[in-house]
């Protein structure tokens, strides 16, 4: 059996290896960073143009009121769920193997939420009035509409984002202290000193730290489930055919975990290479994530089929028409591709030989995420193109390059944030890896003793 981590890594080596990631990554890091900045540039240009001219440049119309922005918004929200899954749920379940990878997964949560939030702004016709959607105290007693799922959305996302940041930060405090202690003086030293909050590693600090971390983890789990359920409500609570489906919240949550896990695989492979983390992000861990992803993929597939079946056997002809339209209309290539990427491609993960095959898994993880992005688009667009009112059916609308540019740039924005984070903060949790190594050693010793005893 492959080991999640080698038991003979010295603690000092862990420090050294991780701290090295703050100093000298491979060249590829800078290439990625540069590409990411260029992509953000494209998106900013598109947004500036759209802001000045109007939403029309996105080529939305009546009935295509929403487009890629909302689809991509859901995609990024979904992406954020994996961090919580790895760091909070698996933490509570004492799954040790999460330890080398949860930090970047948690960072992914935060950054994908920040990206998703931007899409809300990009989508609004009057983004400069976005604060109307917040229940802020005001003299005229004008409240947002608490009936609107979109308002719940805004609140859920804000809560989730702030909790995620807190969780990420709190979990990082012992590591920040390590970094502080190993840093030459300069601005970074000052930064880490401030962020480490005077961490000394005393027994009391550790005890408080554990309790706090556990509390936030417990708090975060229902939040993660609720946030995507609420995003699902944006659709399920509406009256439109293809949206008004009871199973949407669990379906959305499953999809979210799914795309998040796939993204973790992608980033796992990239980080492992870029920051030379081969020793910590081992193939054994990869295998475990892949298996987890496979399981979630099957759950998603099941829920997806449930959705089709409930529409097909339901009595709502309009919804059924939308489903038929998805499978046969102008969106058919995308819809079939989504089903292929979401349900067929993950079958590769079932085979052991592919589970640790880095190039295959890299490609698979990208395809899964493509599938999940298409899934969101296929939820949003076909309903608009083929709603209740035949006179306004519009099967020809195609998002303009402005929309595509902003969607494209959002990946750059996410990558940029993520890459900068990995360069500035330890993306592998040093103290937990040390624990892991320690536990591993204990286990090996125990095994050795037990072996001896048997003789």
């Amino acid at each position: 059996m492959m080991k999640d981590i080698s038991e003979d890594i010295a603690w000092a080596k862990i420090n050294k290896d991780v701290l090295k990631s703050l100093e000298n990554p491979r060249k590829l890091y800078w290439v990625i960073l540069f590409i990411a900045i260029a992509m953000v540039g494209v998106a900013v240009g598109c947004e500036v143009y759209q802001y000045n001219i109007g939403m029309g440049v996105a080529n939305m119309d009546n009935p295509h009121m929403w487009g890629l922005y909302i689809a991509t918004f859901i995609f990024w929200i979904g992406m954020s769920h994996s961090g919580t899954l790895l760091s909070a749920i698996l933490h509570l379940m004492h799954a040790d193997w999460r330890k080398p990878i949860y930090r970047f997964a948690e960072a992914m949560t935060t950054f994908s939420l920040m990206t998703a939030g931007l899409f809300v702004a990009v989508h609004l016709g009057r983004v400069w009035q976005i604060y109307y959607a917040i229940p802020y105290p005001n003299g005229r007693m004008v409240w947002p509409n608490f009936q609107s799922p979109l308002l719940w959305d805004a609140m859920a996302i804000f809560t989730y984002l702030s909790s995620s940041i807190l969780f990420l930060y709190v979990g990082m405090i012992p590591d920040l202290a390590i970094v502080r202690d190993n840093m030459h003086s300069g601005w970074r030293k000052k930064l880490y000193s401030a962020l480490a909050l005077g961490w000394e590693g005393t027994d009391r600090q550790w005890r408080n730290f554990r309790v706090t971390y556990l509390t936030i983890a417990c708090f975060l789990i229902p939040l993660a489930v609720s946030v995507h359920s609420i995003v699902a409500s944006d659709f399920a609570m509406s009256q439109q055919p293809g949206w008004h489906i009871t199973s949407f919240p669990p379906y959305f949550v499953a999809g979210a975990l799914y795309s998040g896990c796939a993204a973790i695989i992608t980033l796992f492979i990239i980080l492992r290479y870029v920051f030379k983390f081969e020793e910590y992000m081992t193939l054994s861990i990869l295998k475990k994530i892949v298996r987890l992803t496979f399981a979630i993929a099957m759950v998603w597939t099941y829920l997806n089929l449930i959705e089709y079946a409930s529409v097909w056997y339901g009595h709502d002809q309009a919804s059924k028409d939308v489903l038929i339209q998805k499978a046969t209309g102008p969106y058919a290539p995308f819809w079939w591709m989504m089903n292929f990427c979401g349900s067929i491609v993950p079958l590769l993960m079932f085979f052991k030989r592919f589970q640790t095959n880095i190039p295959v898994m890299f490609a698979v993880s990208l395809l899964l995420n493509l599938g999940m992005w298409l899934e969101r688009w296929m939820i949003v667009a076909p309903t608009f193109s083929h709603g209740y009112y035949p006179w306004t059916w519009d099967h020809d609308q195609w998002p303009s390059l402005i929309q595509w540019g902003i969607v494209f740039g959002s990946f750059g924005w996410f990558t940029l944030l993520f890459m900068v984070f990995c360069k500035v903060f330890p993306s592998v949790s040093m103290y937990e890896v040390k624990e892991m190594v320690y536990h591993r050693k204990q286990a090996t010793k125990k095994l050795a003793t037990a072996g001896k005893g048997a003789h």
Partner: protein, 285 residues
Amino acid sequence: MSVSNLLENWSEFRHLHPVDDVPHDPYKWAMSIDLDACSGCNACSVACYAENNLPVVGKEKYAHGQAMHWMRIERYWDEDGREFPDQGAQFLPMMCQQCEAAPCETVCPVGATNHTPDGINSQIYNRCIGSRYCSANCPFKVRYFNWYDYPTTDNVWPAEMNQQLNPDVTVRGKGVMEKCTFCIQRVTVAKNNAKNEGRIVHDGDVQTACQQACPTSAISFGNLVDKESKVYKQWKAQQVELDKDAQAKDKNEEGRSELRGYRIFEELRPYPSVMYLERVRESAV
């Protein structure tokens, strides 16, 4: 500000439209459109452009589906597979149905679209942030979004043309949703005039722009609470009730009803305020 304050204020807006609702008093504006009289001539639509400062978007934007006609005339053909439409076409003027339980109202995150005590679905341009959720949830797709800043767009209202703009109606800028208002500006004038005279608005005091133009008088508009109004009488005669999702006509056996009144998508329960009267076709030819 406190939570209780917030909840109290909010509770004022929570109604179960229209079944449990406070009855509209003294006004509930409603319409009836006789499809047998409607000739599909488009006069109503042009009158609406004139009255409500609707921008002419031009060919390119029209091609992109960004037209702003609050009132559109739909033309349907019979779907019986005949080679020639020998029973003519069907025309249907479609505009905001001013639903009593409007799907658009509940979903707006900022409460920019509301129900007025008169039973009109109002749109507050200043409050709108342009999330377009209302339109997404509208079954009739009669809400129109300002995809561009039309007041500053070339050739929408160039010099002189802008002098035609109705000062009683806001000129909408980019990023807000708009739709038929039942000519709320005319209703308001009529209500104020009536109030000054210490009475309620009589039938005929106010006409919507489309109704006033309509050469065949197919459109009636009035107060559904007022038993003297033509609209009330028409709804009554057709046994169409505002807060029902199925009418006397629907309960009859197939084809047996002598009633012509119906509301579109009644089964979705938006409780529209517009009743249509079926077009009649001669059986003898």
